[in-house]
Amino acid sequence: MKRIFEHPSEPLTGRKYWRSVGQLADTPEFRGWLEREFPQGASEIQGGEVSRRNFLKLMGASTALAGLGLAACRRPVMHLVPFTRGVEWSIPGKPLFFTTARPTRRGYAPLVATTHDGRPTKIEGNPLHPVAKGTTDLFAQSSILDLYDPDRATKITNAGAVTDEAAFEKALDGILKDAGDGSGLGFLLEEDNSPTRQRLLGLIEKKYPKATWAVYEPLGPVPAETAFGEGVEAIPQFEKADVILSLDCDFLGAEAELGTTRAFSARRKVTSPDSKMNRLYVVENRFTITGGVSDHRLRLPASQVGAFALALAAQIADATKNTALADVVKAINSPAIKFDADWIKYCAEDLVAAKGNCLVLAGSRQPAAVQTLVAAMNASLGGIGKTLVGRKMTDKSMSTLAELARVITDKKIKTLFIVGGNPVYNAPADIPWATLQKSVPTVVRLGYSQDETSPLATWNVPLAHYLEFWGDGRASDGSYVSVQPMILPLFGAWSELDLLAKVAGLPKPQGPELVQDTFKEIARPADFVTAWAKFLHDGFLENSAVKPVPLTFNGSAAMELIKERFSTPATGEDAYEVVFTQCPKLDDGRYNNNGWLQEIPDPITKLTWDNAAQISPATARKLLVPTLVGSRAAQDGDMVEIQLEKRSLTIPVIIAPGHAEGSVTIPLGYGRSVVGRVGVGTGFNAYPLRTSSEPYFAVGARLRATGQHFELALTQEHHALESRGGDLTREGTVSEYKAKPDFAKTMGMDAHIPPNGSLYSHPPLDKPNDPNAPHHGWNPHGWGMVVDLNSCTGCSACMVACQAENNIPIVGKHQVMNGREMHWIRTDRYFASVDENDPDPEMVSQPLMCQHCENAPCETVCPVNATVHSEEGLNVMVYNRCIGTRYCANNCPFKVRRFNFFDYNERDVMGGKDFGVFTGLYKWNLITPKGAEDTVKMQKNPNVTVRMRGVMEKCTFCVQRIQEAKIAAKVAARDSAEYRIPADSFTSACAQVCPADAITFGDINNPESRVAKLKTNERGYRLLEYLNVSTRVSYLARIRNPNPRMPGAEKIGAAMKSHHGGEKPEAAESKKTPA
């Protein structure tokens, strides 16, 4: 008999937590996601696939045929192939760890690469580095897949014909011999601060003084003549700031530097009600990761942020009696835009009250005048030298793409070297780069893969991955880091340094000699061999971080600049603002062919495999509904045409709660025309809308709904949990927390749980073993996890880290639409609001993985004991026993189990893009050959089984790491009984990567461990406690720190104290305070 469990219903009044508009409307589609293990039809063969009946016919025939071939059922002969000569350090089957660093446009990120028998398989942060502290991000984690991308450029080509390295070197020598003073040479590079590169550029400049040097970064910051002097940057010190106001600055997301998230979240680590939290105000046009963790958020079109800053500056100038700032405010005609006066007033008051400990941040996307105005505000708020410190990097100054384009137009460039980048795809619309590039007689391109730029180049040379060459660089704190190769270039690729060395007239480096020369210059070691070895071992040179320079605010120059440049674009009734953003997954499009990144849901919109224009629900109603046939509501995926001057783009929309009205946000990096198998056909290219004068937002766009619809693979409703959102993700405010520190434990249904009347009581988690049992204490461990929702930003780095560690396949867009994505850990994103039509919901992210229930519902229903409990508390999944009934997934209240509907590891997932019967996953499995690309196999973690079709899988708490640690402890114990793993000596992949340190994993039986201590935190709660599943993962409730006087403060962090309602302390307090 099927028993339908009565989960508590959503409260009729009070705050609701919801994942999508569909959930609020309780659409049948959403009910399908919620109530079924998979949505209707997802577990059936469908679409372009063969019907079940035909499938059975085929199967029967194939089985009969297979019977004829039974003679070959002997195990094949396999060989063991040892090295001929022993390799230093190498122990077959044991991983080796090397430090290295990854180039990013904000400096090098120090890393540790894991190599198995010479193959790099996993990237971690460098724990020795003082700023990185072992954390990494989404891009570092997924960069390992780029190394093994089967669509990488593999051959040197000349005018499209494959040739070899010797021919290229000969041609290069010819070019350089005729170069003279270099006036015909042009170089287009990417932002990079490698000192060896700087040194080589110096050498080349001496040889060819007239050469043109240019750098192009499509998503670089808006150039702002700084108010702090030439080349000096003001670096925010988040650990010192009590009140932070971000004006369109996504400092936890797209604009995060190494260690930013760690520094910010350190001030949100609440250990007791007395802990002092920072307060974050965010003004932005769309939800970002930063906006999601904010305490107060104001929706504003990005083009009006400047006007907002001006209004705020007026208040600050008033309060701080800063006449200079007041003069500027007066000098500028304040635009006729009405802002929430209370918001500005109380925000300014809060900032002034925290004078010296506050921080105002302007997004690097905002115009120079706004950035300078914000610097002036910081100066009058006393932040200079305290919450902002100066840093000066000395890099060669380069021309911009526009300047290079002018030189090319003048026909001065005979040979153009393009290293990396992809200007044909991402150059601004006002620079006809493709035509310009074609007009250059010889173009030498170092490119990572076949892209839009390579067909227009004469010579194409494969560019090396950062794990393939010797290099160096500077981290964002300026420390000198080493880039070590983990593997020889897979396809004879050249690094940038190789090419520059050749141009400089040096031989192509065969080893680290070039970097060693730079190292000698920088470190000046007394004993080179030891110093070099230490440099490589640590991954960075000790004490090499750039010393902070004194920060002096040049007030008068700044004021001049603001007065001269400040402008607020006017917006019309029907004119929209278009905002171009860095895609949180694909950056500027360079990771378009990375399947892991394509399939990670966007942290905010939960969109995979495509981009879409985000618009607010009200805009969607206004814009779309009149064009829709019948009574259909506006949906995600409805197409609009965006007309910006003469340029236009047709793109699907996503209805994004919390988005500003009159504004459209489009992530860049999609719609590539020349790209590998993964990226082809994904998304829409917004670069043609973008000009160099308005790189991040443009005003005056016209939008028109086309009436068409595009299918988007959105995961926001997937794996929806029964129970109330507010029970799953719990939050409160500082005052609530102070009033009742353990408020999270009695929220919602948890207040109503009757005492457990079971005849069989489970031993408590922290004392699992009966001390009188035989062999008590022989198995001292018990694993558990704590996730601090107050630190989690929802960045989804844990998802990719898990994918890399646990050999999780990608499944492709069509499969994601069917709800078959395989991520073991997912990031659930909820919006919260009291009124469902409230345009200002809050956002909460919650990572969810297998909860490792002590009374696991999945275990009792497995007919073959394929999922069982271990004595250490793990809910163990035994792949070789699994027969694929999927009962366990059906019975899992957390929906964390994933089923291999296809042989994702052996079949071409990307082949199914046309959804045909004979392609990709839908090939007739028994009659077509299987197999994965060799390079893709090289990435796999050899300590984790690669699962096959028909097998269930889920989070294992990284059991391979647990076993490794246990075996290491036992090997060390030898003939003693001392094999307890030291506390916190290893952790799971998700906990290791977390930039905010939100996930803690460890041995809860060991009172010394961090996780055991966190388990006693009063904010802790467990999910679905009323089901008595007794989970091993627990969460710490999110605490918001609203300013009680701000408008709307009573809505913020409005934890349902209970579903009986009740007045919130803030509401009461704000009534008392005279406004």
Partner: protein, 244 residues
Amino acid sequence: MANIFPRGSNILPIKIVIILVVLGNAVSAGMWYYFTPKYTRVGYQPAQPVPFPHDVHVGQLGMDCRYCHSFVEVAAHSNIPTTQVCMNCHSQIQRDNPKLAPVRDSWATGQPVEWVQIHKTSDFVFFNHSAHVNRGVSCVSCHGKVNEMAVVYHDKPHSMDWCLDCHRAPEGALRPLKEITNLNWQPEQEDPQAFIAAYGKPVGSEGRDFSKPKERLTQEEIGSTLRDKWHINPPDKNCAGCHR
């Protein structure tokens, strides 16, 4: 109406049932016997590119297992020696032996010798040598008396059932760590006095007087003592011990 079927056909259904039962049992028994590693794997003795005689190297010359399988104590894999290890001696001894031609070729060309794999676990099984040899399990327990094999063969079934026999009762395989690579070790050879001095009174030896010269230790006693002393708790119910 006359009977269509003869009288004898009444017993036919019973006969069919009996035949089916007998046949079914025979098939089950046959599969039980012929389709399990005890039959399919034990005795597997492929020809190797070099007929390396373990009996000569270990049995006669007395080389230790770990001279060639050098990482067995630190890694999951017990490595096959590199050509370099062979050449340590064979650059001077038996330099012209034609059987060693593949080794010399390998050394000259850098191409490895391709040994035929005999012992193999499935892809979903993660066996770790170091966890066994450091905790009292000898090579001989799983590989047999390799020191007496002229050509190595598969001696034990290596089926999951066989693994679990030992994981459930490890005392049957434990021995003092110094005897791990001594494949000829027998429990009777252990000096009871020295053993008692090192590990205390053997478990389960109540009523026995080891001061008598004839009184020898049994495997059961040695194993149980070491298990309790070292807290040997191999994963017997925790599937994740071997399947990850």
